[in-house]
Subunit: 155 residues, 2 copies
């Protein structure tokens, strides 16, 4: 399976259409709560990185934060967008737009870009250069924003 | 710094006493919400592993799940137990018991045991043997339970 196809699957489209094992296994409200939790864990770690690249740089903190984001990026969150999760409540009502479930190619592209930059953030963090980490943090943030702009409803 | 001391820090005690950079930076309600989110992401991934070791084993799924748990185990969650987080609400009222904040050595030991077994789960998952994964999943679950028994209030 090529990388693009893999990412399409990770990116929820095929999961949403066909239903993965875990999508079939887990209740829609659990899937929504878990994906909302995963985004919060990423938000925590993005803020940790921001705090470091804008202030006193602590390599160990940035490594931990970047590795956590990368692990979630590679976790297969697509399976948390299974059938019946287009509406409903986890911790709160889902913010996903209906278009997420009908724009598989775009979702896949955005997911692939995010995963690529998250993995790169992890590598850059390990190298320990604060300026490079700041630049990569900016790139990573752009891939979050790109998906939010298209597929996350405003508060 | 030796491994035990590192884990003590990861295990929240020194973070709670001295306040780490992120504990000082982030609001108590954010710290509580983020740690509750992190536990939910671990719950999702524990259930994914359970589903695989009790049913049809998919190595790739277990690897992703185990790596996500290990990354969170190594993320430095101790910093999310900063001053003012012994009570209060994230997604819901915190379930942490007051004793968590006054039993540093025990918390450190439990955190070290959990991180050890989470890292081992990741290695075992990569090796791909279903029976070994099931055994390690059991060990890992025991380290979760040990901490819940002592420091998590019942619903």
């Amino acid at each position: 399976m090529n990388k693009f196809l893999k990412t399409l699957i990770a990116g929820a489209t095929l999961a949403a259409v066909a239903g993965t094992a875990s999508a079939q296994q887990f209740k829609p409200e659990d899937q929504i709560q878990w994906r909302q939790s995963a985004y919060q864990v990423m938000a925590w770690n993005m803020q940790r990185i921001k705090f470091n690249v804008e202030g006193q740089y602590n390599k160990d903190e940035v490594v931990k934060a970047a590795n956590t984001i990368a692990a979630i990026a590679n976790s297969g969150m697509g399976s948390l967008y299974g059938p019946g999760t287009d509406k409903g409540k986890g911790w709160h009502n889902t913010a996903v737009k209906p278009a997420f479930f009908t724009n598989g190619q775009k979702v896949g592209e955005l997911a692939m870009a995010f995963t690529k930059e998250a993995n790169e953030m992890s590598k850059v963090a390990a190298a320990g250069d604060a300026a490079a980490a700041k630049a990569q943090f900016g790139k990573l943030g752009q891939t979050c924003k790109a998906c939010h702009d298209d597929f996350k409803a405003k508060d």
